[in-house]
């Protein structure tokens, strides 16, 4: 399944429902473009809902890290919501679970931006 992203606003936070695969190539390119576009449009508080992400590779992880740095460099925050077990395992293996602010329910995630 190819990468798809649907942004919406909730309590001043841009929540992006992402589904598909974030792999080297189309998936990573589209995630990069998505975050660039959001930042260009002035979005600074971004919550990526990754519940629909079925697969991610090292390039996809790199793109998340790149996105985190880009949002922080604009004075914003990028957080993650609803990680699939394998993605959570990958972030734990790579010690990135401590770098990203990861949430398991949207309400708590939205509150954390305040």
């Amino acid at each position: 399944m190819s990468f798809q992203a649907t942004p919406r606003l909730a309590d001043g936070v841009t929540v992006v429902e992402i589904s598909g695969r974030i792999l080297l190539g189309e998936g990573t390119a589209r995630l990069r473009q998505l975050l660039r576009d959001l930042l260009a449009d002035g979005h600074r508080h971004i919550l990526l809902n990754l519940a629909g992400v079925s697969y991610i590779d090292s390039s996809g992880i790199g793109e998340l890290v790149s996105g985190l740095a880009a949002v922080r460099s604009h004075g914003g925050e990028l957080k993650l919501l609803h990680l699939h077990r394998r993605l959570r395992d990958l972030l734990q293996l790579t010690r990135l679970y401590t770098v990203f602010d990861v949430h398991t329910d949207e309400e708590t995630a939205l509150r954390s931006f305040r």
Partner: protein, 159 residues
């Protein structure tokens, strides 16, 4: 005597080869009897190996090839990924878990291969380039070298 089966695949240096190589790896791992979780790990390790060959070995140069070999030994699956680059030293790869590397956007592929496979070695290929050799042992109930009685005899396939 248990025999070894071997499959050799030559891939073009293009993005599609990453998915193709992974799909082949999943089929081979399935045929070898690995369960779904282990197949996922093997597939991902092979994917990362091919990404390494595509990006850093062959530097996306279309004229170069990536060689993907599978060896179904009696007790383990051995996967080799060879590129036509300049090779690299495994000891020189920065540790992606080090504090100073945590926020780097690349450099996790080799680490993930190590996590997902039982062994990883990097040698110089016969024509230069890097030769990644990754190994995954079969679970005990699948190991023909541990089975009592006569071993399965499978004709060796070699191209």
């Amino acid at each position: 005597m248990a025999l070894t089966r071997r499959i050799e695949v030559t891939l073009e240096t293009q993005l599609d080869s990453v998915d193709l190589g992974e799909q082949i790896a999943l089929r081979v791992a399935g045929a070898a009897g690995f369960d779904e979780e282990e197949r996922h790990k093997i597939g991902m390790a092979v994917r990362e190996g091919i990404i390494n060959a595509y990006q850093y070995g062959n530097r996306q140069q279309r004229g170069k090839k990536i060689f993907l070999n599978f060896e179904l030994a009696p007790d383990r699956l051995i996967v080799e990924v060879l590129d036509q680059g300049t090779g690299f030293d495994l000891q020189q790869i920065p540790d992606p878990l080090a504090e100073e590397n945590l926020l780097k956007t690349s450099g996790r592929g080799i680490f993930l291969i190590r996590c997902f496979m039982d062994e990883l070695d990097v040698q110089r290929g016969p024509h230069g380039g890097a030769r990644l050799i990754m190994t995954k042992r079969y679970p005990p109930h699948l190991r023909s070298d541990l089975k009592p009685g006569p071993h399965r005899e499978t004709p060796r396939r070699s191209d």
